[in-house]
């Protein structure tokens, strides 16, 4: 199994979620994160003094899928999350050696 991690723009979350549902993804774990990257931040002033808002709000999705589903999931995310504007985010895939469903103790792809 693989863990697909996607960092996207917050307002795209619903679209991505729907796209993943559509291809049968059963579960997603989401976090609010802050991203630093090419998109850069703003330099603002607060009561006259400067400060940088270097980190822009992003949402990170973690999805554990069977090996064969990886490509489909990645493509679905790219399709749903891309705006073409800088800052759309990244997707990376890492290997998952073991997966357990706490409720049942099921392991492996059954646990997805």
């Amino acid at each position: 199994m693989k863990l697909v991690t996607a960092v996207i723009k917050p307002f795209k979350l619903d679209d991505v979620k729907d796209a993943l549902k559509a291809i049968g993804v059963a579960g997603i774990t989401v976090e609010e994160v802050r991203g630093f990257g090419r998109q850069g931040g703003h330099t603002e002033t607060y009561r006259g003094a400067e400060y940088k808002i270097d980190f822009v709000p992003k949402v990170s999705l973690g999805i554990v899928v069977a090996d064969e589903s990886v490509d489909g999931v990645v493509d679905a995310i790219v399709a749903a999350a891309a705006t073409g504007k800088i800052g759309d985010g990244k997707i990376w895939v890492t290997d998952v050696e073991r997966l357990v469903r706490i409720r049942t103790g099921e392991e492996g792809t059954d646990a997805i």
Partner: protein
């Protein structure tokens, strides 16, 4: 004795009828007050309640403009200003301010309100009870101003001591010199006498100077200045709190200034109008100024601006026209922006701008009387005292002299106080504590505990 029978509903449609024939709080008295006398006292009492409400406003402004990790400590400091400050004013503050004094310096009677008939309403005036209530909430205001400038790095118990000394001694002495009829009240330059209707100088400048000294003795917060010495903003964690606080302070000011008329007369609403217009003008001009300076209408600064206008109009509100109130407020709105920028540059770290708002604009309010006064606010004792109204510079000189006296007194007193605290129990928390936040280490509490951490 008062007729209890009348206290208890006789059953006639629930009409509660009471006749207050003799005193319940306080002793007997001779003069029988009129409806107007009672109105005067009730009105000033209600104004005092509005002023007390300002405590919540100060707490919110300070909390909103600082970081979440210190929010408990900030509310604790503001609660202290009310709790300890008022007790201190009760113990000695009132006595020093309004007690009988042989000379110009300090009052020495009525400690703990002893020997006072709180209920004795004199003809056309306020009872000692009404006066004490109104003065006590003013004292709590004066001390709480400094809290903002000392935010996020002051030891709690040291602040408690500062708060007590401020209300017990430092502020009351200034009151004695002015409203109490001492040193400053005795100044007379060709008939020109001091005028500080509701306390731009007596209350706000005093608080602002204490704020300055506090910030000076503490030094800037860790991270406030970059390695190269350039100021770095530490944005407040809750702007809604800050602006809600500004609204509450604005509401309170309608007790602060109009209540200082100390009478329910025909001038109250005019004073309120001047107060309102100065605040509006200041807010607008701050918005314009900060937009020109930094490109955007920074709401935190606009909040400071509105307060700057309120502080500035506090002295002249009884002596100037609505139009001039707009001018005075507008100038305060510009002034406060550059004051904030200035103190930033000279490394006086004032998280909420208390020095600029209360110190600088309090000073501006005080001298604005010398420039724009046209009506007699019952302090001036004459019409057209202002420079621009043909009153010459005498009034301006008196106001400047008054400001100088307040400046010296507060600098010296708070200098000694903070010096002693620093040398003894210490004024500033450890760097580790400052970085982790004061809430958990000083108070054992998080301002915003996560549900997560405490279920099951």
């Amino acid at each position: 004795m008062r007729n209890r029978a009348l206290r208890i509903v006789s059953g006639l449609g629930g009409v509660v009828a009471i006749l207050a024939i003799t005193p319940s709080v306080g002793f007997a008295q001779d003069y029988v007050p009129t409806a107007q006398d009672y109105l005067n006292n009730i009105w000033v009492f209600i104004a005092g309640v509005l002023v007390f409400f300002m405590q919540a406003g100060f707490a919110l402004v300070e909390a909103g403009m600082t970081r979440a990790k210190n929010v408990v400590n900030i509310f604790a400091k503001n609660m202290t200003d009310a709790v300890v400050g008022i007790l201190a004013f009760f113990a000695t503050g009132w006595a020093f301010a309004f007690g009988d004094s042989g000379g110009w310096f300090i009052g020495t009677s009525n400690f703990f309100l002893q020997d006072l008939d709180l209920a004795a309403i004199p003809e056309g005036g306020l009872s000692p009870g009404t006066s004490f209530f109104f003065q006590a909430v003013f004292a709590a205001t004066a001390v709480t101003i400094a809290s903002g400038a000392m935010a996020e790095r002051t030891k709690f118990w040291s602040y408690v001591i500062f708060s007590a000394v401020m209300c017990a001694f430092i502020y009351p002495v200034i009151v004695h010199w002015t409203w109490g009829g001492g040193l400053i009240a005795d100044i007379d330059i060709n008939g020109a006498v001091f005028s500080d209707f509701a306390g731009s100088g007596i209350v706000h400048m005093t608080g602002g100077i204490a704020a300055f000294m506090g910030a000076l003795f503490l030094g800037p917060r860790i991270g406030r200045y970059a390695a190269d010495g350039s100021p770095r903003a530490i944005p407040g964690h809750n702007i809604p709190f800050a602006i809600l606080g500004v609204f509450i302070l604005w509401v309170g000011w309608f007790g602060f200034n109009p209540g200082s008329e100390l009478l329910a007369d025909e001038f109250v609403s005019g004073i309120a109008i001047n107060t309102m217009l100065a605040a509006c003008a200041a807010g607008l001009f701050t918005a314009i100024t900060i937009t020109l300076v930094s490109g955007k209408p920074d709401l935190a600064m606009i909040g400071n601006g509105v307060l700057a206008g309120l502080v500035a109009i506090t002295a002249p509100c009884g002596a100037v026209t609505p139009m001039m109130s707009v001018v005075i407020g507008g100038i305060a709105g510009v002034l406060v922006v550059f004051a904030v920028l200035f103190f930033d540059k000279v490394k006086i770290d004032d998280p909420v701008g208390a020095i600029s708002v209360h110190g600088i604009c309090g000073f501006w309010g005080l001298i604005s009387v010398g420039l724009f006064a046209t009506y007699d606010d019952a302090f001036l004792g004459r019409e057209d005292a202002g420079l621009f109204y043909g009153g010459g510079i005498d009034q301006l000189l008196v106001q400047l002299l008054m400001a100088a006296i307040i400046l010296v007194w507060v600098l010296v007193c708070t200098g000694i106080l903070f010096g002693v605290l620093k040398a003894t129990i210490g004024l500033r928390v450890t760097a580790e504590e400052e970085i982790e936040g004061l809430d958990v280490l000083e108070h054992g509490l998080q301002g915003y505990a996560a549900d997560m951490a405490h279920t099951s």
